[in-house]
């Protein structure tokens, strides 16, 4: 193919192929900088990353393909590689050449993949990575002999330090000039094993010894007792950081969004436009941006632990435990993250290779008690559970809160156990996990990965969250009822809410939720809490015309509220218990639903998650209401 036809045909397309942990992503970032486009392959949830590079005036498009051990696919990730290389995906034309990353330290295994890739007959050049590590471990590979034995160009590189990149860049624009093997490696097993042994004896001058630092660290990290303790410590810290560090940032964002709204309201003439901009758009944008601290923090920690090499060890330590509920070690981190918020938790399931186990983890993660439930629990427990101590040291309120956390976790484990036997069945993916040597991740790589994840969240889930927030604003503000002259503003807001579409839906819902002990006011709160669980607190405050400033006033108002027909309190112990239990189970969170939609690429799974959790919530609340009523009446 001449240079002229290449120029008219657009950039030269290069596929980046290699096994997991072979330095593929580092090389991708070194070649393309931070300009990767992240998306999904059509029809599957496999991440698609492409980046451009300009070398000697030639435009290159580098396609970072998922890490693979073999071209016979078991998982959807691997299937994507096979399909891209076979030109079976219309949106991704087959690459003009392949850059194959091979970890120099594991060449004895990686040559198997090399043989498979060479047999494709596409121009291939090999980037032999981690050559610095190989040398440090006393190993030696003869690059010239390797190139001669395979018949393709071989370049030794150290991606994060830029070593060998110049030589590689000079090769990249001309895949048509790369040498091709005169004879393809054999495919018949016996012949292939012979080929492998003969290449290795020629090129592997000295086998690398064990990595001493990795051996030393693993003596502690993988120790049956110390390793388990360390795992527990890392997970507690992980959870604490996401929970404690993100909260101030989230409060700051909340405050800033509120202030921006007020400033906008002051600047605009009062009316529908101002209400829409402040309560609909600004609040909606705020409800997206407020997740950013958690997402940034979560992905920084996840990628750091992954790149250092700890994540695989953590999965190893906890695999037995997770295996009991049909999941594997890597699901643990996602479930733990969901304690802070299900949105980052669901995004953390990307580390689980088996699609079915990933799906089960996604479906149960909303059951972990997220931080948005806390304001609801705090209001109800504060108002109705007496602040007494049991046996002199345990606060009853704290015990009830702990009980709610435990109920959520138990339900998640139970649901995982059931779902992995139904939804997750027929999973052909065997469990295997490579423990890479410990490595210090380059900060640039970490930053690029975190930035990519945050941008993807804003674009994919953010748009839906914003849309639903605006829709809920419409339901809560239309039709509009003008307040009679002289009515206090709090009272006017209450009337407007009762007359709104959401208020009417609340009334219409009453027969359905009455068996749970809920009246129409709680119904409106449940509808509003679809935006985010904690919104029910603000909505109840509006219904009870309680001032937002005084947290105690809402507590008093709901304590004092009585049913106008019977004269009995609305919030009986049975109703409070039932509402608490409802919030343990129900998926009252459009952000979570939007994230599930984006992460599974289908409406089916968010609908299923919403449905089964609503059914669970309804059943559990109904039972709770009955049982508590029987004991308290």
């Amino acid at each position: 193919m001449s240079a002229a036809t290449l120029a008219t045909r657009g950039p030269i397309r290069l596929g980046l192929v290699g096994s997991p942990n072979s330095g593929k992503t580092t090389l991708f970032n070194a070649l393309t900088g931070l300009r990767a486009r992240v998306g999904n392959y059509p029809g599957v949830t496999v991440e698609r990353r492409e980046g451009d590079a300009l070398v000697d005036g030639a435009r290159l498009r580098v396609i970072d393909l998922p890490g693979i051990y073999s071209l016979s696919p078991l998982s959807p990730d691997e299937a994507v590689v096979t399909r891209v290389l076979g030109g079976e995906i219309a949106e991704v034309p087959p690459p003009d050449g392949l850059v194959l990353t091979v970890d120099a330290c594991t060449i004895e295994r990686s040559l198997l993949l090399v043989a498979e890739v060479l047999r494709l007959g596409v121009p291939v050049c090999i980037a032999l990575t981690m050559v610095d590590e190989l040398r440090a471990r006393g190993g030696r590979i003869d690059l010239e002999r390797l190139s001669a034995a395979l018949g393709v160009p071989v370049v030794g590189v150290v991606g994060h330090r830029g070593l060998g990149l110049g030589e590689l860049r000079r090769l990249l624009p001309h895949p048509e000039r790369w040498s091709q093997p005169p004879l393809l490696p054999p495919s018949e097993p016996r012949e292939r094993d012979g080929w492998l042994a003969s290449v290795l004896t020629r090129v592997l001058v000295q086998r690398p010894g064990p990595s001493r630092s990795t051996e030393l660290i693993d003596r502690i990290v993988l120790h049956p007792v110390l390793g388990t303790l360390l795992f527990a410590l890392v997970m507690v810290l992980f959870f604490q950081l996401i929970f404690a560090w993100a909260t101030p940032a989230m409060n700051a964002i909340d405050g800033a969004v509120g202030a921006a709204g007020e400033a906008l309201r002051a600047a605009l003439p009062p009316g529908l436009a101002s209400d829409f901009l402040v309560d609909g758009v600004v609040a909606g944008v705020g409800s997206v941006v407020v997740f950013l601290p958690q997402i940034l923090l979560l992905f920084t920690l996840l990628h750091a632990l992954e790149d250092i090499g700890y994540m695989a060890r953590a999965a190893f330590v906890v695999d037995r435990l997770m295996g009991r509920i049909g999941l594997e070690g890597r699901a643990f981190v996602a479930l733990l993250s969901s304690y802070a918020c299900a949105v980052p938790g669901i995004m953390a399931t990307r580390t689980i290779p088996s699609p079915r186990q990933r799906l089960v983890t996604i479906l149960v993660s909303p059951l972990m008690t997220c931080s948005a439930r806390l304001p609801v629990y705090a209001l109800l427990i504060g108002a109705f559970v007496p602040a007494t101590t049991l046996w002199g040291l345990l606060g009853l309120q704290g015990l009830v809160l702990l009980g709610l956390y435990l109920l959520g976790a138990t339900a998640a484990l139970g649901a995982a156990s059931v779902l992995s036997r139904s939804v997750g069945r027929g999973d052909a993916l065997p469990f295997y996990l490579e423990l890479p040597p410990y490595r210090v991740p380059p900060l640039r790589l970490l930053a690029a990965q975190v930035w990519g994840a945050a941008r993807a969240f804003l674009r994919r889930a953010g748009t839906i969250i914003l849309g639903v927030s605006i829709l809920l604003w419409v339901l809560l503000s239309f039709p509009r009822t003008p307040a009679p002259q002289g009515m206090p503003p709090a009272e006017a807001a209450r009337v407007a809410l009762e007359q709104s579409a959401a208020g009417r839906i609340g009334h219409a819902l009453e027969p359905v939720i009455a068996p749970l002990g809920f009246d129409w006011k709680i119904g409106v709160g449940l509808i509003a809490s679809l935006a985010a669980r904690e919104v029910i607190v603000a909505t109840l405050a509006q219904i009870y015309a309680a001032s937002d400033e005084d947290a105690g006033s809402l507590r008093d108002a709901i304590r004092a509220d009585r049913d106008p027909r019977s004269g009995r309190p609305v919030f009986t112990p049975a109703t409070v218990a039932s509402l608490l239990v409802f919030f343990v189970f129900a998926l009252q969170c459009t952000s979570t639903l939007a994230t599930i939609w984006r992460e599974t690429n289908s409406w089916r799974w968010p609908a299923f998650a919403f449905g089964y959790l609503l059914a669970l919530a309804y059943a559990a609340s109904f039972l709770t209401h009955r049982v508590v009523s029987a004991f308290t009446s």
């Binding site: 073999s70 594991t106 198997l112 390793g227 695999d319 037995r320 052909a428 065997p430 295997y432 490579e434």
Partner: protein, 78 residues
């Protein structure tokens, strides 16, 4: 004790030479891709709490397998 045992029976610190794979085609193909070729030396390095999974060292890499998968690899004690 027979010289031929499933990999899952290899004690921690023990060495074996891969003799054959006794698994369904998909698993056998994957184990091959992971380096379990005939005549490959495998060492059992560590076990997780409660004994499962285990870490094996072969062909320059450390690989963690559950008992259910390691059972499919037949090794000759070395």
């Amino acid at each position: 004790m027979s010289r031929f045992v499933p990999l899952s029976d290899l004690p921690v610190g023990g060495r074996g030479i891969v003799v054959a794979l006794d698994a369904k085609p998909a698993l056998a193909a994957r184990l091959t891709a992971l380096g379990f070729l005939p005549a490959t030396e495998v060492r059992c390095r560590r076990r997780a709490p409660f004994g499962d999974p285990r870490v094996y060292e072969l062909r320059g890499s450390q690989l963690c397998l559950r008992r259910s998968e390691a059972r499919s690899v037949l090794v000759e004690l070395a």
